[in-house]
């Protein structure tokens, strides 16, 4: 089944196109990396998929539904915002926020919600930190809690916006392994916006590059041409000695 199907999508801010003629098919079970220069529209595209922004032209279907109706199947980890590190909430409180779409206005979180929250914390290895204040956790631990929050509604699709920001190098590998596990063993489709080309090439099964236009071939590689077009300059992408190449071998 198709998780995300975007056809001929255009989005304008004033007269200026932010997203230009986007066509994208993400199959269920894919782990897609989305790279591209800053201001290229990566976060905006995620918000379109979430139904937070309406496109001017074109269609978006998530599991065959319109984005707002599909929200309960989507887990979202927004770009790390600089939140108040003394905010008086525990990890458990934060994870429970992810149940909002299921519980709805005025009602309280029930026993079932708490059990689901515990389960989500367990799945990211943070169950022992449930009662800790969010600000007392390290960057990597906080990010795990935010992933737990996105998992607590049992999503079929997970959207992550630069999730590795603020995680130190030692914890990053662990964090990406966690995402891989969610993808392979729990069968969750993942779209991850990232700047970290090394990580992307290592973990993802599909790779797309966005700078207003989307460069995507349904594979884990991009052509050098695509990347140069998107970034507007040559980008050295295989220089990190990664085990997988980001660029496809030249055909010519």
């Amino acid at each position: 089944m198709t998780a995300i199907s975007i056809k001929d999508l255009w989005l304008f801010r004033g007269d200026h196109p932010v997203l230009e003629d986007i066509n994208l098919e993400v199959a269920e079970g894919d782990f897609m990396g989305l790279i591209g220069p800053n201001g290229g529209g990566k976060t905006t595209l995620l918000k379109v998929i979430l139904g937070m922004i309406k496109p001017d032209k074109g269609s978006v279907e998530i599991f065959g539904l319109n984005p707002v109706a599909a929200r309960k199947f989507i887990g979202y980890v927004p770009q790390k915002n600089i939140f108040d590190q003394n905010f008086p909430v525990t990890a458990m409180d934060v994870v429970l926020m992810g149940r909002y779409s299921r519980v709805g206005l005025f009602k309280r979180y029930g026993q079932k919600d708490k059990e689901e929250a515990e389960k989500a914390l367990r799945s990211v290895g943070m169950e022992e930190y449930a009662g800790r204040e969010i600000g007392s956790l390290s960057g990597g631990e906080q990010q795990r809690v935010f992933v737990a929050r996105s998992l607590v509604s049992n999503p079929k699709l997970l959207l992550l916006d630069e999730p590795a920001t603020g995680i130190d190098a030692a914890q990053q590998t662990e964090f990406y392994d966690l995402l891989s596990r969610l993808n392979t063993s729990m069968g969750i489709t993942i779209v991850m916006v990232s700047h970290d080309l090394t990580a992307v090439s290592k973990y993802v099964s599909k790779l797309a590059c966005l700078n207003q236009r989307l460069y995507y071939h349904g594979t884990a590689e991009l052509t050098e041409e695509d990347v140069e077009k998107a970034y507007g300059c040559p980008v050295d992408m295989v220089a990190h000695g990664t085990p997988h190449r980001v660029l496809r071998e030249h055909d010519h």
């Binding site: 918000k47 979430l50 937070m52 707002v68 929200r71 979202y76 927004p78 915002n81 939140f83 108040d84 003394n86 905010f87 008086p88 909430v89 409180d93 934060v94 429970l96 926020m97 992810g98 909002y100 779409s101 519980v103 206005l105 005025f106 309280r108 979180y109 204040e133 929050r149 509604s153």
Partner: protein, 268 residues
């Protein structure tokens, strides 16, 4: 002069003042923590100052100034929200414009009326001793209403305060909740104007919560602690004001800020 500490309670106006202070402290405790967590301290201050425009109008028309004050505070709260979301004016610019416009209108309208100087002073700096039992009733009704809203919408306000972007993504009515919060601030601020005045209102709204945040965990604890602290500040401020014959609004705020600096120093 009666120097026994409780002597001042023999006067009815002191008892009213104390009752108003306790009721207002509870209201401040509940609204204030959301003001701090949502970083809308400056907006709240702008709303308080803009309320002066309405107060001036009510005064000029010979009607109840506080009713007009609430109206203009609400208009300001909604106005700031609307202008910043629909135009290129940044929020703090909009606040600055509303704040000074409200004050200017208030001053002009009040100066066109009689008894200008004395009443102007009490609106700017507060006069808790002029509070009536009817005012206490109004504050209590408002406090109960705000408490009910906060209990009913506890998880919504928590999500709004912590992570509005995520809230929007999971379908939280972010804009409506923010307007509701600003309206609660508008009502609270106008009630507090009677007690500490426009200039100092923001201190009473935020200082007790700011202190409790340094020592308590969890919102309910912070709210309860702030209500108690607020009451203590009002009481001590009133006693100082009574014995030294200085304006009560100022003594209440000085008491609160001394406590804030001490608390900040010891919880470093």
């Amino acid at each position: 002069m009666d120097w026994s500490i409780l002597g001042f309670l023999e006067y009815d106006f002191m008892r009213v003042a104390l009752a108003a202070g306790i009721a207002a402290s509870t209201l401040c405790a509940v609204v204030g923590i959301y003001v701090i967590l949502n970083r809308i301290v400056f907006i709240s201050d702008g709303i308080a100052h803009a309320a002066f425009g309405g107060i001036g109008l009510g005064y000029f028309l010979g009607s109840d100034p506080l009713t007009f004050g609430v109206a203009s505070a609400l208009v300001t709260a909604l106005g700031i929200g609307t202008i910043t979301s629909r135009s290129k004016v940044s929020e703090d610019t909009a606040i600055g414009v509303f704040l000074s416009t409200g004050m200017a209108l208030g001053v002009i309208l009040m100066s066109l009326s009689r008894g200008y100087a004395k009443d102007l002073f009490s609106y700017l700096f507060g006069n808790i001793l002029a509070v009536t039992w009817f005012d206490v009733g109004t504050i209590l009704v408002l406090t109960v209403a705000v408490l009910a809203l906060v209990i009913l919408l506890y998880k919504e306000f928590l999500l709004l305060s912590f992570d509005p972007v995520y809230g929007e993504a999971v379908g939280l009515p972010v804009r409506s909740l923010r307007l509701l919060l600003l309206s609660m601030v508008a009502f609270s601020v106008v009630v507090l104007i009677k007690i500490v005045g426009i200039i100092m209102v923001i201190a009473l709204l935020t200082i007790p919560c700011a202190i409790c945040r340094q020592h308590f965990r969890g919102l309910p604890g912070i709210m309860a602690g702030s209500a108690i602290l607020g009451t203590v500040f009002v009481t001590i401020g009133l006693i100082i004001s009574y014995f030294f014959d200085v304006p009560s609004g100022a003594t209440i705020i000085i008491t609160a800020s001394v406590a804030f600096f001490v608390s900040t120093f010891i919880s470093r």
